[in-house]
Symmetry: C2
Subunit: 561 residues, 2 copies
Amino acid sequence: MKRVESNLEYLRKLFIMPETPDKFMEFGHAVLEMIHDFVQEKEGLHQSITLPELAGIFNQTSMPESPHLIRDVVAEIRDKVTLHSVKVGSPYYIGHMTSAVPYFMILLEMIIASLNQNQVKIETAKASSFVERELIAWVHRMIFNQSEGFYRRNIQNPRVAIGNVTSGGTMSNLTALLVAREKALPADRRFPGVRKAGMERALRHHGFTRLVVLTSKRGHYSIKKSANLLGLGEENVIEVPVDTHNRIDINRLRRTIRAIKRDDQITDARTKIMAIVGIAGTTETGNIDPLTELGDIARQEGAFFHVDASWGGPALIIDEYRNLFRGIEAADSVSLDFHKLAYCPMTMSIIVFRNERDLNNLKQVSQYVNRRESVDTGRFTIEGSRPFACLKPWAALKILGKDGYRLLFEQAREAMLTFRRILEDSGNFEILNDPELFIINYRFVPHFVRIEVHELAEASKPSSDRTSREEARNKVRKTNRILNELNIQLQKSIRLDDTTFVSRTAIESTQYQYQRIVVLRAVLINPLINDSILEEIVSTQNRIGLSLADQYEPILKETLA
Amino acid sequence: MKRVESNLEYLRKLFIMPETPDKFMEFGHAVLEMIHDFVQEKEGLHQSITLPELAGIFNQTSMPESPHLIRDVVAEIRDKVTLHSVKVGSPYYIGHMTSAVPYFMILLEMIIASLNQNQVKIETAKASSFVERELIAWVHRMIFNQSEGFYRRNIQNPRVAIGNVTSGGTMSNLTALLVAREKALPADRRFPGVRKAGMERALRHHGFTRLVVLTSKRGHYSIKKSANLLGLGEENVIEVPVDTHNRIDINRLRRTIRAIKRDDQITDARTKIMAIVGIAGTTETGNIDPLTELGDIARQEGAFFHVDASWGGPALIIDEYRNLFRGIEAADSVSLDFHKLAYCPMTMSIIVFRNERDLNNLKQVSQYVNRRESVDTGRFTIEGSRPFACLKPWAALKILGKDGYRLLFEQAREAMLTFRRILEDSGNFEILNDPELFIINYRFVPHFVRIEVHELAEASKPSSDRTSREEARNKVRKTNRILNELNIQLQKSIRLDDTTFVSRTAIESTQYQYQRIVVLRAVLINPLINDSILEEIVSTQNRIGLSLADQYEPILKETLA
């Protein structure tokens, strides 16, 4: 790589947009060719390079001394980085929530970077502050659907914030739970509030032993993370079991609350239920909690009701999915990510609060930003400096419109149903969730095992006689343990094969309650997916599964005998 | 604006990089022309449009229904957004830490968006995980300069993380203080640690009444924010006064610590000093704390030593500034932003830990990401999904090299010194800090007041006799109050004039100790700055100042009489 002699004139020129865009376009063209080649290239989704090999490539322990030509660094990026990146945009990559993004997103990123506004304050973000508030109003209305007057009053009212743009779902959930903590441990005449005084004094003042958060076992790990950060302690996130549809079991939730109260009485403690967190699209299975019931319980218990719709939220852009989310309008706050189901690049998340005064609990001022009389967005956010990321969903909603998103979600739904049908038709796969929001859990179960396991599962039901029930259950358990191993091997082999990709998790909420079952997980939102691609994915995975099944056949047959 | 009929084929095409880049280039060209026009355009830094007028433009309370042409939306962005954005890249805009960025950053953003890697896990970020670790090693070495063996061992070792990339300085500081809290309230045989048990139980178990953080009055407001988030309470951030160089007053710090211990004895409390936070480049004044002394005190007190180098840190890229940061190598953690002094677009921050095991305190696992055996970066971060933002500093350090950054920082230093000289020469400005890292605090003091105030300030020193001292001090105080008002007016008028921009703050640490003085604040890092631009800025501000001074002259003269 050529080292260049640096001088201030050369450097200055880098900081000026050239007189005409030609110079820039030359590089832009090279970058686009590179991206194009990467996308077209057929060499597999993750590339065959191993992690130790990559470790050998990126092993410079000191910063570069001399400058290098942009051209050379772009070439280095192509050879070392792009070539060994994951093709998350490929329709054969259906393993995670990252999908293809429309190419106009790249144009928007160019605008964002070149304007380089800092959303923290109006002096560094003029129009962009207004874009952000407009977008937040759209999202708020999509979820809470308050009166036109509410939005007229608040859309550009700098004294309140009805939501925040954040860097991701974790930050959105953290913001919600921070507000919940403030409301659980508020200031009064004799106390400055948890924010000023800290957790220990706040609990003591309000006479609580602890704050707890209730959510389901499918709750995202950011809820525990937030409980750690906020000083509640991870132990005080109580995970309630789910039913076989991966929805929080409302009866178990009620029992859990009763148990908390009983324990409080016995131990002379006082537990405050700070928040109940509903999930609108679980990370692993895409299912939605019964939000109406959760809202009712939260109200009865005086708990803050947060809905983590990081995954599913954007489905509300169109009315067809509203029914699934029934009850979300009663939430105190809802978080949703635009870099997942709304097809924006990493990262762009929103948290909205039903009550326009809730975010006042976070309000902060300082001398150099966010002065008392200020209209700065940064008064209401956990984060400080923030990019003009909201331009992406704002423009995407205009370019695609609700109509466009409708077509995309219809296509995703079709892909989900088709994938399920192909899996079922193959005879060697078992579906393990009730797919709602474009996520399917399944596993490879060789045909010779499937029928037996089903019969055994039937025999293990309470209706059968006790001895044969026990025996049948034991067999199912043992078989599932072997199948778990087989499916871990399968997913690893699929990764090695690298022409298709699904992810893997382990859940206790399948029909084999409550044994933890290893499942393959497909997320089917890429608009480039078509039927023949799905056929290809299943046939590849079936082929790999069958070759593995040979190894497992003796032990499986022995277990089932 | 033309509404377009949406169909799936049209939508799908948006998700595919066109066969040749031509189609994309057509839009890319339009975007670049737009950016170019915006930069060239001479209409002022913030545009004359008022905030209420902007509120009238961005007042759609519902999401758009129908799709629109990309061309039309880009035109809408041009007319409504770009045109009314803040020209943070202009050399006349010297008010905040946002500067011009080199145009290759736009190319890098294009790459980041189109690869769309998610840094949270290796399955969604292969080479990019290694780029991130390499960059973190460079930064770690720049600060802590451990042995070559240390970096060989840890640079690509997935079992540890010597630092994290975060979305901003606030998240970096929060990460540092979260680790500090874990270390202050650790797990032991009878206790699962604050992370699991929460603040109240952890304090009780360890026998502490509270945790405190000590920092100077110049500490960034994210320290208080973090103390709120972490359940310490904002009141437990103890802000120690600074000297007239805006550096923490070490004697006052020692006295503060003694006072805490004395109070603990009297009230039978037990305060744990969780962390001491040094500042390497204060937000308001750019000055650096005496880090060696802070490190010594932190060690004596068993406190975690964090250095907030969000502003100044990148100056360490070159050796010439090392002396200013003496003692930083003894810190437990250091945060630094690349979107400020390192000329990257918003946002890109790093937190590094001297001890490679410290981030294990954050380690988390879940079934669907970051499994136990995993090598995923997300095990160590507060944030979840994260963009491939680290490509920007990684590539910038290659393209510019240390040599390039040296030239940029030399130029910034020249600009700082020149600006100070021009201000001093004008006769109507007073410099109010001791500029180190490219930030100057100054204020407008009309010539007829300056001499008098200085004489009075002399007379108010302890050496003078008591009566005349009291009288002189009173006069200085009153005069400063009027000058504060004048300078607030001046900064507002400068904003209205809109051909130049500086920010404003109020600090108690000028030569007029401890009266709060309103100061104008200039940040001089834009490489496009030259002497004649600086002359122009001062002459404009002097002209506006003089016209305001006319109004204030009678009252000022009366006060000084």
